[in-house]
Amino acid sequence: MRIVRYEILIHAPAQTVYHHLTDPVALLTWIAASAESEPIAGGRIRWTLPNGATMHGRYLDLQPPRRLVFSYGWEDDLMGVPPESTLVEIDLRTHPTARCSP
């Protein structure tokens, strides 16, 4: 069962978005105060938010720059979602009105 689905429009090439989602340094620019990321299948992903909450999971499917799937959850039993207990799937699609590709 998919619990929630969000869609946003970003004016950038898919490669740039993918980079921000998987690169440990780029993660610091939008979500994490510290981050580890090993974007290979089975690789570890771990973000600590500015408020100290730490998420961690594993990459399960990576198809750069179009798709990434990782397991997800919070350390210390925050929000009732333990590490690797849930799944995040991200698909990057080119908007029909995009001026350039990808």
Binding site: Q15, V17, M79, C100
Partner: protein, 119 residues
């Protein structure tokens, strides 16, 4: 929020909720749908009730469950409150980086990679 997320973190409980989206069901139907024995299913239904996600009424000797859409909507709002600001931050960070790259590229006549070069 924690109780609600806890409740939906379990795949069997999510299966039950999915079935209940179609309307009221008995405990037996919910157990079958979730692939659980009745006593196990009862424990899971208890978790859903405690989280306020389902309500129960007695009909003779049957217990009929239904979804509480208000609680579900509240949980949805809580999840939105968590995800929406992060997604906005992602959009801003990515778009800022594209602008920075475009500026750098035009100023010094170089580009940082094929993806940015196209932007």
């Amino acid at each position: 929020m924690q109780e609600g997320l806890d409740a939906i973190a379990h795949p069997g409980r999510r299966a039950m909720l999915t079935l209940l989206l179609g309307g009221e069901r008995s405990a037996g139907e919910l157990a079958d749908h979730a692939g659980m024995r009745q006593p196990v299913a009862s424990q899971h239904l208890r978790v859903l009730r405690d989280a306020g996600l389902v309500t129960v009424r007695k009909d003779g000797n049957r217990r009929l469950y239904s979804i509480d859409f208000d609680t579900l909507a509240r949980l949805r709002r809580d999840l939105d409150a968590f995800w929406q600001p992060h997604l906005s931050a992602l959009k801003d960070a990515v778009e800022d980086s594209v602008e920075d790259t475009a500026r750098t590229t035009s100023r010094v006549g170089r580009h940082n990679g094929p993806a940015e070069a196209r932007s």
